[in-house]
Symmetry: C2
Subunit: 200 residues, 2 copies
């Protein structure tokens, strides 16, 4: 099965534009450093180009109602491990609504030249531990989302007050940091696997 959704020329043109956008994002320091080598690797392969990415993050969020992410506001957002003081200072900003603490694993969107290429990367990503990977769109562009299952999603307070005691806060921060570090290791594994499959 080798099905071209867009012609090679159209794909190349779209890749060129995406690389230009990525370059601007690099220069404005809007790309997570931890994921840069993986992005560069993927973009060095003819059949793919990346369209967006996050290397994983720790987030403290305030939501008016459970699940209402549309009307949520960030109390804190970090793309690196954090310490107890950072957590506490961010939590102090809470006023009204539910306070949730998240550790989110990496997420990466990329376009593939054809369905075959997309499938190849989906398989490789799943076997590298990114179990939530799949083809999200087959329309104008073939978009693959690479993502993982590990995360922390905890309701930790309401209306400015935390439910959890000091010791528990420390454990939440420690766990979020550990998940973030594991994410980085998983990105390294994925990078090795892509190199092995596509470059050698």
């Amino acid at each position: 099965m080798a099905i071209d959704i867009k012609s090679s020329q159209e794909f190349l043109q779209a890749k060129k534009q995406a690389m230009c956008k990525l370059n601007n994002a690099y220069n404005e320091k809007k790309v997570d450093n931890d994921i840069l080598p993986l992005l560069d690797l993927i973009n060095s392969i003819d059949q793919y180009y990346t369209t967006s990415s996050c290397a994983g993050r720790i987030v403290l969020l305030e939501l008016p109602r459970i699940g209402d992410k549309k009307n949520a506001s960030f109390l804190g957002k970090w793309h690196r491990p954090i310490n107890r003081e950072e957590f506490s200072n961010a939590a102090k900003r809470a006023k009204k609504g539910w306070i949730w603490f998240f550790a989110q694993s990496p997420i990466l969107h990329l376009a593939a030249k054809n369905v075959n290429d997309a499938e190849k990367l989906v398989k490789l990503s799943i076997s590298s531990g990114f179990k939530n990977t799949g083809i999200r769109s087959l329309g104008k562009k073939i978009i693959v989302e690479i993502s993982s299952t590990e995360r922390l999603d905890c309701p930790i307070g309401k209306d400015g007050k935390l439910f959890c005691a000091r010791k528990y806060k420390d454990i939440l921060v420690e766990t979020a940091n550990e998940l973030l570090n594991r994410s980085q290791e998983k990105l390294d594994v994925l990078q090795d696997e892509i190199e092995r499959k596509f470059l050698f």
Copy 2:
């Protein structure tokens, strides 16, 4: 674009087998009641058949190390809202390792006749609120995974002891129940949308 991955005959044969398996699962009461109408609806459409499903669940798990789900053991598992006593009784079974509390949203796997059909259902599911939906496999079978993003993933204790106070336990249980109820509502929305798109 209309690409048949398997011939109609092969697809029909595989669907027949899957329906036989599903029927056995029905009879052994191994299918969540809450998701049955959706499964029946999807299976009534020529282009699809379901291969596995979970209507969403609440889980109390014991893990030797963070993220080590392979060696985890269930302390409690429910496909319905729970009460404080059920939570506490399950937590009492904990002995060694991390205790995590999860609320997991519905997940549904289905085979589609061709890539076009798969894409149609991916789009519909994403727009119905199942944001994690994607094509997982394009090999022998075209498999779509329908899943959502809402969840609760909390480390709540270690080596048999809970970190969280009684009041916080109540809030965790309440939140998990709410997420489960919201899952059911989302399944209803998806069902309505599929009916609208495919049956009328």
